[in-house]
Amino acid sequence: MPVFAVGRPLILGLAAAFLCLGAARADDMPLAERIALCGGCHGEDGNSHMEKIPSLAGQPAYFIMNQLFLMRENVRRVEAMMPFVKDLKDGELNALADHYSALAPKASGETIDPALVERGAALVATHRCASCHLPTLAGQEQMPRLAKQRLDYLIHSLKEFRDNKRSGADTLMSNVVIGASDDDIAALAHYAASR
């Protein structure tokens, strides 16, 4: 396994590479091929081993459909995803959502700090995370699974909500994390990843 450098250029590079692979059969790609393409970054079984790339296994089907839709419409702007989502039809969004929601989530293997998990548990209670994401943090409907998600991706996402870079399906996440410190975010992420 090669050691990847962090950051966007790499992700964009990979996106470009996969785009080239897929270019000859852009439309009407069979679902299995589509899934193989996604698996290049998100993991064959939907559990990502790549830095800051989210795991999709066990995410609620509605959440996956909704986010793919929003990325396709360029409402949620993830440049690296654009080549893969821009031609997806509504039916394909649903097929991908059904596929990934049925897979089993696995912990990423990143190092979890028990002290942060303990702090995170208290913050999860005061921030009422379970109301939307469920006490197990498995997510439901438009709200994502947080349990067993990659730690680095959780931190990245929480900061995006805090720093007004992402609005989410509703804007409630911005309200929940507004003013949170980097330490609070780390604690929330360590707790969620450890569930």
């Binding site: 005061t126 439901q140 399906a169």
Partner: protein, 419 residues
Amino acid sequence: MIATCLPRYASLAGVCAGLLLALSPAVAQTPPGFSPLDRSNPQASQQDVNLKPHPTPPTVTPVDKLPVDKLKLPAGFKAEVWSHGHPGARTMVMGPKGTMFMGSRLIGRVYAITNKDGKREAKVLLQGLTQPNGLAIRDGALYVLAINKVLRFDNIEDRLDNIGEGVDLTDKFNLPPDIHHNWKYADFGPDGKFYIQVGANCNICELNPGMHGQIRRYNADGSGMEIIARGVRNTVGFDWHPETKELWFTDNGRDWAGDAGPEDELNRLPKDMEGANFGFPYCHANGIPDPDIKRPHPCAGVIMPAALIGPHAGGMGIKFYTGSMFPPEYRNVAFVVRRGSWNRGQKFGYDVAIARPQPDGTAKVEPFMTGLLDEAKNEFHGRPTYVLPMQDGSLLVSDEQNGAVYRVSYSPEENPRTR
């Protein structure tokens, strides 16, 4: 981006500095003296902790699945599907040449709906915006307000096939960049000024009264900003009384303080009281002190609502009716939309109400278009968001959940027994 602090904020220089710090990704500091987080108390509210927002489908609801048969109206009225197939349907404004423009939130689109051979045709005019709920028409130009974005498209109805990039007025309006409660409602008032909402960036928190929880007005080019209402948690609909010219606006009450409320408000800004305080975060509804943020005399100097419109009702669009199709008792009454609750065990709202202004400045509220809420099953079939009176006197109602618009008309001969 907050590049400069307006002179108006000079006395709040510390706050401006704090905001600049908060915007810098390296420093996640809270402005001094302001509470960073939602101040609600889960134990005290005694609500079902599993309450959660309802998803808004981004996909098309087939026309035969629209709940138009469920709609209930007073005798003589009827409702029919006016347009459909445009997911996320919310704000509606009519261009002088008959094009209807429609804003949305989640789906990030602005639609143009035109008449073609007697049928409505919806096309996506803009997409990829962050919650473009604020639309207004002035001198043939369409103003589009998304979160932290203001665009103007001149001569829009002559250029529907190629509207171009528009004029970006974002810097001129210098709105706060926060996302929560910052999707916009905007309209031109009878004074020619451009009125814009700026919500509280939280459920319940201490806020900077110079920045959040307001209605502002501007000149059309973004100059001359004035705060004309303060302590407004989040209004997403306003209109002016046809005779008094006073501003009436809906305001959504806070969450997680119990199923019973505090109730959403229908407010009236009395004449010559620009800048008045409507109570948030200390005083809610008709004088209820906040249970989590306490201070002495929380309601002192606060303008009480013209009417309460129900617990967690989701008060949305409001329009006064001046048409001649409906019976005379509907003249100068306000149609008020209630999108329906999420932060409440027994669902409430999902309807269009009417508010009849009274001589003492209050209003009487009664239901008008119901049927989208099945109270026995505690389920809803649609979520109305905005109303638009048409030239012929009929009333359009948008349904965000189903991406449709219903037309309500009155004809006692044809519909003697409706409801």
